[in-house]
Amino acid sequence: MIDNLNFIYPEIFISLSIMFLLLLGVFKKNSNSLVYNFSIIFLIFTLALIFNNPLQSNIYLFNDSYEINFFSSFMKILTISSGSFVLIASSRYLRIFKIFQIEYSILLLSSILGMMVMISSNDLIVFYIGLELQSLSLYVLASFNRDQIKSSESGLKYFILSALSSGLLLYGCSLIYGYTGSTNFIIISENIDPIKYGLTFGIVFILVGLAFKISAVPFHMWAPDVYEGSPTSVTLFFAVVPKIAALTVFIRFLYVPFINMIDQWQIIVIFLSIASMIFGALAAIGQKNLKRLVAYSSIGHMGFALAGLSTGTNEGVQSSIIYISIYILMNLGLFSCLFMLKRNDKYYENIDDLSGFSKNHPLISLSLLIILFSLAGIPPMAGFFAKFYLFKAIVKESMYFLAITGLLSTVISAFYYLRIIKIIYFDQEKEKYDSDYSIGLKLTLSLSTLLILLYFIYPSRLVEIVSRINII
């Protein structure tokens, strides 16, 4: 038992560092910046600890309730690295908004800890604990800029709706426990009796709860308001990091215990996927606020990721994972550009504020152009390959309806991405924005842009890594 603890060193380390940072913040005055920098360093160290584990191992801990394998390690690496990029990119923003406080990075770390628990969970209770740790930290983060009404509103809204969905999810867990006699994924899969319809109800409740977490239609209502109201750095976190963990749980929940009940849940996932793709594309067209627009576009992108899941094959799952990895990259780049829209310590977040941006800031506009075309899925950007693998997996299962709906919604969503490009490149210019970017921001933007643009030169690497994830 104790021997196996070394596999969860990353989790242990991150918990200890949260406590350490809390103490440091309390006992040392003016330690905001120290805590912030330390949390980045600790995250990177956690990353190293994950790499330290033998990646191919497949280990069950704590009475099979916690699983460490290549899949979970990969998703944790994604979570932590995107989390640290969020921290790296947003320090200047927090300072200007005067919310550069110790709690910010500590809450962020604890929500990442919650996600790591979620990703590795092999048991409904462990999964629920991770989910709640993650969500509770996010509620506070959403309302972190508490002097602003919008931020408080978004935190409260998120809390109420999320609590409701957690309730549904918990109810689903209890139903599943009632019909199978266990909370452990493996034992559940052994005790499935498809004749018991209560089990299907349980699955549906849990799917609803999870769909809420990744903001899939029709459980997306919170997303636009929360995205708009939260501080931009938190929005970036919302748009990227929790999705990874929630998608992982989605995959594990559907494919480990309930793969044999695919005929029960497949149609639900397909519906969620199609509704999200179409709604995300249509609703984004009328938006004026960039953060709201990102909210709708992320709804659409989640629809695509779910489309991969609905196939019920390893290839589908792999394509979803590739999709979400590239999606993270694009969103990091997009938000770095948002952080650059600053003039005299005021941040601008309307689409019209980008008007004629390319005249004064040609290089940033160029990278924004690349990112937006990539989000629209135009080759040869990385976003195209994300969609390509996805459709490859979908068409293989002859789900042509899903494929064609997905592609048509790609065309619709291309419209609003083009609209932003039009505003950047075709419209009259406005005043110049400040150009004193922090190094972290420049690093994030240039790294993500280059990866997106040059992905086509050597596209096999990511596929190779992901193809080692065989969930079934």
Partner: protein
């Protein structure tokens, strides 16, 4: 042949555009230097492609200069190569690009650097389309071309540029995504997207009709065929001259090339099945669009509509599935590339001087711009298809092919030739002859040196190939023979399989 000559053709313009990107942009001096860089790269590319033509062996039908490298492991290879059909399009691309760069004089006054980058990126993508031998690679280049063209129309176009740019982008994207599904479906049906292997093994006839339609939806938008042609006049009218030249001369050829290479090559049975559809759409394009062209009062719009009509001839010729028809289509495409580019340049010359594209603001140009009148006449006659110009060879061969298959089709198509004469000559008459009424026209100068150079370098091949089309025909002959042989073989085996005589 170890040197990767095709890849270097694709890469060179990209390298050039990188150079331009890092030229500092502040003074007019740097504008000149970035223009020289662009010109230099595109001329080097042109000479490489001429050398390629020289090396090209037109006695064999196999793909030559093939490069095959692993790209997406175990799935897609980066495979390029050319045969007689594609080399002419590559030549056309590399020939038109430097000319359109020279044509940028004062018409593009701002952001010249970005414009040159867009043109060069466009060139390399177009060369990529014409030599890719894998469906996925083809799609990559095919779609990638949307981005620079969207920017060219949107940034440097006229007043309604945004509307046209969006229309262009969304129309073509909608067409192409269906093609993407079809390509993926082909992969799962046959296990490969390699064109050469697909030629060899063929695709099960059960799937061909649907796949053909998916490809058709993309090519029909790009051709453009009636009724999805409406983006073209808008895009042309608003694009700057250099952009129009590029659009008309090269981008419109993608679809024609795609029909020959993919629709005929991969889905012979479906092509046979859908031939009546193509015939009727082509005839509508030829007759109806010609009548529409007759009614235009904007010169650029008129030429844009005439392009649609000419492309109608091209699709008609391709689907006659005769040696003459397909040869005619390819020559028609090359000729249209030269002639329409030149006509847009001619309009551009007038537009630069008076900033009007309306026909009725001109008249009597001949007395002040005699040199211009001569060149304009050559291209007007070439657009009509007068013997002695390359347009004639193309249209004649297409009609010859059509007569073998269906006399009525050929008769209706010949009407198009008459209409073309009507609208082109009427345009010429109204612009060049008549009384010089508009006072503004008195002070406009005749062609300057660079304009003379561009227009005559388009006129010489137009006339040369009109009198002596042998080099073109020799290049494409064997490849087309092979294609038709393969097509007939497929069809007869299908007929045998089904026990009926479809061939009749």
């Amino acid at each position: 042949m170890n040197f990767p000559i095709l890849s270097s053709l694709i890469l060179l313009p990209l390298v050039g555009s990188l150079f331009i990107l890092f030229v500092k942009s502040d003074s007019s001096n740097t504008h000149q230097s970035s223009k020289y860089v662009a010109l230099f790269t595109s001329f080097v590319n042109f000479f490489i492609s001429i050398y390629l033509w020289y090396l090209f062996d037109n006695t064999i039908s196999e793909f030559q200069f093939v490069e095959d490298k692993e790209w997406l492991k175990g799935f897609v290879n980066y495979k390029v190569g050319i045969d007689g059909i594609s080399i002419l399009f590559i030549l056309l691309t590399t020939f038109i690009t430097p000319l359109s760069i020279i044509a940028i004089n004062n018409s593009i006054s701002f952001r010249l650097k970005e414009f040159l980058i867009a043109i060069l990126v466009m060139e390399s993508l177009m060369i990529g389309v014409f030599c890719s031998l894998d469906l996925i690679i083809f799609y990559l280049f095919f779609e990638g071309g949307l981005i620079p063209m969207f920017l060219i129309i949107g940034i440097w176009g006229g007043t309604r540029r945004i509307y046209s740019a969006f229309k262009f982008f969304l129309f073509t994207l909608l067409g192409s995504v269906l093609m993407l599904v079809a390509i993926i479906a082909i992969y799962w049906i046959t296990g490969t997207t390699d064109v050469v292997q697909l030629y060899e093994f063929g695709i099960d006839w059960k799937y061909q009709n649907l796949l053909w339609l998916a490809f058709f939806s993309s090519f029909a938008v790009k051709t453009p065929m009636w009724p999805v042609h409406t983006w073209l006049p808008d895009a042309h009218v608003e694009a700057p001259t250099a952009g129009s030249v590029f659009l008309a001369a090269i981008l419109l050829k993608l679809a024609g090339y795609g029909f020959i290479r993919f629709s005929l090559g991969l889905f012979p049975i479906a092509s046979d099945f859908f031939t009546p559809l193509i015939y009727s759409l082509s005839l509508i394009a030829i007759v109806f669009i010609s009548l529409v062209a007759l009614m235009q009062d904007d010169m650029k719009k008129l030429i844009a509509y005439s392009s649609v009509a000419h492309m109608g001839f091209v699709t008609l010729g391709i689907f006659t599935l005769t040696q003459q028809g397909i040869e005619g289509s390819i020559i028609q495409m090359i000729s249209h590339g030269l002639v329409s580019a030149a006509l847009f340049l001619c309009v551009g010359v007038l537009y630069d001087r008076t900033h009007s594209r309306l026909i009725n603001s001109y008249g009597g140009i001949v007395s002040i711009m005699p040199k211009y009148a001569v060149v304009f006449m050559i291209f007007t006659l070439a657009a009509i298809g007068l013997p002695g110009t390359s347009g004639f060879i193309g249209e004649f061969l297409i009609l010859l092919g059509a007569f073998q298959k269906s006399i009525i089709t050929a008769l209706i198509a010949s009407l198009g030739v008459i209409f073309a004469a009507a609208y082109m000559l009427w345009l010429y008459k109204r612009v060049v002859f008549g009384n010089l009424i508009n006072k503004e026209l008195f002070k406009i100068p005749d062609l300057n040196k660079s304009e003379i150079f561009i227009l005559w370098s388009l006129a010489i091949p137009t006339l040369f190939f009109g009198f002596y089309p042998e080099p073109l025909i020799n290049t494409i002959e064997i490849s087309i023979q092979d294609l038709i042989q393969m097509y007939d073989l497929n069809l007869s085996s299908y007929a045998e399989f089904n026990g009926d005589d479809l061939i009749k």
